[in-house]
C-alpha cells in the first residue's frame, strides 16, 4: 500500500470513528435476552414475513423453480392473515421468468443480484450492462456487490464511483449495496464501508450485509454496526437509508432478535419493509411455523413446514 492509500484509510476511519468489537458484541447479546411474547411476538413474526426477500441463488435455478418461489412469495400460507413477502430475489437470468410468474404490478417486488454477483470481479461496463438488463427485464430492485478488492487496497474513490455508476444504471429501481462483511472482516471496516456507500446512494436505497455465499454472513454484531452507521448518517444528513441483513438468518427467533435491534437502535420508522429486509430462503417457513404455533398453541408436524427452500 502506498503512502496516499494508507493516508486515505486513516482519513476515512478518523471521520467515521472506531468500533470496539467486544463492546458491540456485548450490546447485541442483550437483544438475545429480550423476551417477546403473545401479541408482540405475533406482530414481530408477521412483520418479519413482510420483510423477507425470498431468495433463490443457485446454478440450478430454473423457470419452474422461480415460478414456485413466486407463488410462495405471494401466498406464503393458507392463513389469510399472513401477508405476502416483500420481494423475490433471483439471478438476472431469472428476472423475466419471475416477472411472468408474478405479473405486472404485483404486490411482491423482484430483486436481482446483478454486478457479477457474488464476487463482482469483472469489468465495470459488464457489471453495468448486467444491471441495465435486469432492470429492463422487470427487476424492481438491484442487489449489487461493492468492489472489495478496491476497498481493501484503499481505493475508496473507485469504490464510490462504481456505486454511483450503478445508481445511475438502476434508474427507478431501488439499489441495495452489499458490503460482503465477512471479506471486510473488522467492524471498523464495516462501519467505514457503510458510510462510503451511504454517501452516494439515494434515500430509501439499502446497505446489505452479505451475499450469503461466504462462510460468515449476517450476524447481530455486523447488523448493529450497520444500523448505527445508518442512524448516525440519518441524524447528520436527514437521509434515511434502509438495511438488509442477508444469509444465516434461518429461524424466527433470530429474525425477532434482529428486529429488536432495529426497534432499539433506529426506532419505529425502520420497522417496515421499505426500511428493513431479510435476505433469506428457509426463514420464511420457520416464521410460518411459529405464527401457526401462536394461533393454535401447538407446533405442527414437521412435514407441514419444510426446512428446505426446494419444497416451496
Amino acid at each position: 500500500m502506498n503512502a496516499g492509500q494508507s493516508a486515505s484509510f486513516r482519513r476515512l476511519f478518523d471521520e467515521v470513528g472506531p468500533v470496539d468489537a467486544v463492546g458491540i458484541e456485548e450490546r447485541v447479546a442483550k437483544y438475545t435476552t429480550r423476551s417477546i411474547k403473545k401479541s408482540a411476538k405475533l406482530w414481530g413474526l408477521k412483520t418479519a414475513v413482510t420483510m423477507v426477500d425470498l431468495t433463490t441463488l443457485e446454478g440450478k435455478d430454473t423457470p419452474g423453480k422461480v415460478a414456485s418461489l413466486c407463488q410462495k412469495a405471494l401466498h406464503p400460507s393458507d392463513d389469510s392473515t399472513v401477508p405476502p413477502v416483500a420481494a423475490v430475489c433471483v439471478y438476472p437470468a431469472m428476472v423475466r421468468h419471475a416477472r411472468r410468474a408474478l405479473g405486472p404490478g404485483a404486490k411482491v417486488r423482484i430483486a436481482s443480484v446483478a454486478t457479477a454477483f457474488p464476487s463482482g470481479q469483472t469489468a465495470l461496463v459488464t457489471r453495468l450492462a448486467e444491471v441495465r438488463r435486469a432492470v429492463a427485464d422487470g427487476a424492481d430492485e438491484i442487489d449489487m456487490v461493492i468492489n472489495r478488492g478496491a476497498f481493501l487496497a484503499g481505493e475508496f474513490a473507485e469504490v464510490q464511483d462504481e456505486i454511483a455508476a450503478v445508481v445511475a444504471a438502476c434508474g427507478a429501481a431501488t439499489l441495495k449495496v452489499i458490503l460482503e462483511v465477512s471479506e471486510l472482516e473488522t467492524y471498523d471496516k464495516i462501519r467505514a464501508a457503510s458510510f462510503l456507500a451511504m454517501s452516494v446512494i439515494r434515500p430509501g436505497d439499502f446497505i446489505k450485509t452479505s451475499t450469503g455465499k461466504t462462510t460468515l454472513n449476517a450476524t447481530l454484531g455486523n447488523n448493529q454496526v450497520m444500523l448505527e452507521a445508518i442512524r448516525d448518517f440519518y441524524l447528520d444528513t436527514g437521509t434515511a437509508i434502509a438495511m438488509k441483513p442477508a444469509g444465516g438468518i434461518r429461524t424466527a427467533k433470530q429474525a425477532l432478535q434482529f428486529l429488536i435491534a432495529v426497534k432499539e437502535t433506529l426506532g419505529d420508522a425502520w420497522l417496515n419493509n421499505k426500511r428493513y429486509r431479510f435476505g433469506a430462503s428457509s426463514l420464511l417457513n420457520d416464521l410460518l411455523r411459529q405464527i401457526e404455533k401462536e394461533r393454535t398453541g401447538a407446533y405442527q408436524a414437521p412435514y407441514y413446514f419444510s426446512e428446505a427452500a426446494e419444497s416451496y
Binding site: 486515505s8 476515512l12 471521520e15 467515521v16 470513528g17 472506531p18 468500533v19 470496539d20 467486544v22 463492546g23 458491540i24 456485548e26 450490546r27 435476552t33 429480550r34 423476551s35 417477546i36 411474547k37 403473545k38 401479541s39 408482540a40 411476538k41 406482530w43 414481530g44 412483520t47 475508496f156 474513490a157 464510490q160 464511483d161 454511483a164 458510510f195 462510503l196 451511504m198 454517501s199 452516494v200 448505527e228 442512524r231 448516525d232 448518517f233 440519518y234 441524524l235 447528520d236 444528513t237 436527514g238 437521509t239 434515511a240 428486529l259 426497534k263 432499539e264 433506529l266 426506532g267 419505529d268 420508522a269 420497522l271
Partner: protein, 502 residues
Amino acid sequence: MPTLAAGKKQTPRRQGRPAPELIFGDLWTYDPAPETADPKLKKRYELFINGRFVAPKSGKYFSSINPANEQKLAEIALADRADVDAAYRAAKKAYDTTWGKMPGAERAKYLFRIARLLQDRAREFAVAETMDGGKPIKESRDFDVPMAAAHFFYHAGWADKLDYVAPGRRIAPLGVVGQVIPWNFPLLMCAWKLAPALAMGNCVVLKPAETTSITALKLAEIIQDAGLPPGVVNIVTGAGETGAAVMGHPIPAKVAFTGSTEVGKIIMRSLAGTDKKMTMELGGKAANIIFDDAPLDQAVEGIINGIFFNQGHVCCAGSRLLVHEPVADRVIAKLKQRMKVLRVGDPLDKNTDVGAINSKEQLARITALVKSGVKEGAEMFQPACTLPAKGWYFPPTIFSGVSMSHRIAREEIFGPVLSILTFRTPEEAVEKANNTAYGLSAGVWTDKGSRILKMSTELKAGVVWANTYNKFDPTSPFGGYKESGFGREGGRQGLLDYCRLV
C-alpha cells in the same frame, strides 16, 4: 461527520430543515414477560446459628418489603447482642473442633457443593433476589446468581492450594471473622465474603443488610443441605445495632465491612486500639473518562451500564462522566437517545432494564440530591417513562453542565443519576478524576492503547476499566484507595486478607 473522498457526489447536508429525530414510540410494544419461577419464600425467617434455624432470644421480628410493590415478603428475626454472642461462640467452637483442623481438600468439597446447589436453584434464587432487592430479573439471573456461584467455585479451587497464596511464606487462618454486607448485591456479597473466608479455613458470623436478608437466609438453607459442620457459617439478621454487635464482639480476629464510607468510619473508630484486622469496601464516585478517539457508541453503552446497572446501587458505579470537550455534545446526544429505550418498571419482567429503588429511605436520598443538582443549576434530562404507581422507582437521570463544586459531582448518590463534566486535556481528566475523597474504580475509553496504560497508572482507583465498565471476575481483586476503603476481595490478594503469615 464524514465528508469522505473530496469531489465525490455528496448527499446534501440538511439546511434549515428541522433536525431529524428517531421515533421510539409504541409501534411494537413488548407484552409483559414476568419470570414465574417460585422463589419458595418462607413466611418467617429465623437466625442461622450453629447449623440450625433458631428464634431470636428477644422474640422480635421485622418485615422485609418488596420495593417493587411495597408488599411485605416475610418477617425476619431481629438479632440482639445475646444472639450475636451465641453465633460467635458457635463459630469459635466450630473453628476449634472441625473447620480449623480440616485439610483444605476437604473444605473444598463443601465449597464445591455449595456452588453446585446454588446453580441448581439459580432461578429460584434469582426471583427471590429480585423480589427482595428490586433489581431487574435479568441482572439477578445473568449476573448476581451465576457470579455468586462462580466465587464459591473459584475459592473451592484455592482451598487445597493455599501454600501458593504467599510464595515462600507459610499461612494460617485467622480464626473467626465477622462480616457485615450491604443491600445492593445481597447474595453476591455473601459469596464474596464467605467463599474466601471459608476456603482459608475461617469460621464466620455474617450480617446481611436489613432490607435484603432473604437470599442470605436461603443460602443458609443451601449451607445446611451441603452438610457444612454446624457453626462454620452463622447468619444473624437485623439493622445497625446488630451490625455494631457483630463488629464490636471480642471473639473475631478480623471484621470485614462493605457499605457506606460514613458507617465504615464509625466502625473503624469503634475498633481503634483493638488488635482486630479489618477490611473495608466503602463508597465511590467513579470517573468514567471518554476521550475524543473512543468508540463512541460502545462508550455510551459503557456509560449506561456504568450508571444504570442495578439502578446505580453500585459502589463502583461510573457516576461521574468526564467527557472530552470535542465530543461532549455528540456523546450527550447519543446518551439521551440510548436512555429513551431503557425500560424502567417491574423488576420481575424479563425485559426490564432498570428496576426499583431498594428502599424508601434511599429513594428519598436520591430525590434530595437530584433536587440539589437542579437548584445548583445543572441541566437535568430524564427520558419519558411511566413509573409503576406503587413501589419505589426513580427515572434514569443525567445532569450536564456539572462542575466539581456541585454536590452531585462530589457526593455518592447511589442511584440512577449521572453527573457529566467535561475536560480538555488528559492531565485535566486525571486531575478531575482524582479530585475526590473516593477511589474505588474508574473507566477509560480511548482507541489508543498507550493512553490506557498511562491513565491507569495515574488514576487513583482500585479498579480501572478500559473500554468497558462494571466487569467482575472472582480471579480479579477488587477494592479501593483513599476513603473507598482498604483490603481486596477476589483473587489471590483477596485470600491474603483472610489469613495471617506465620
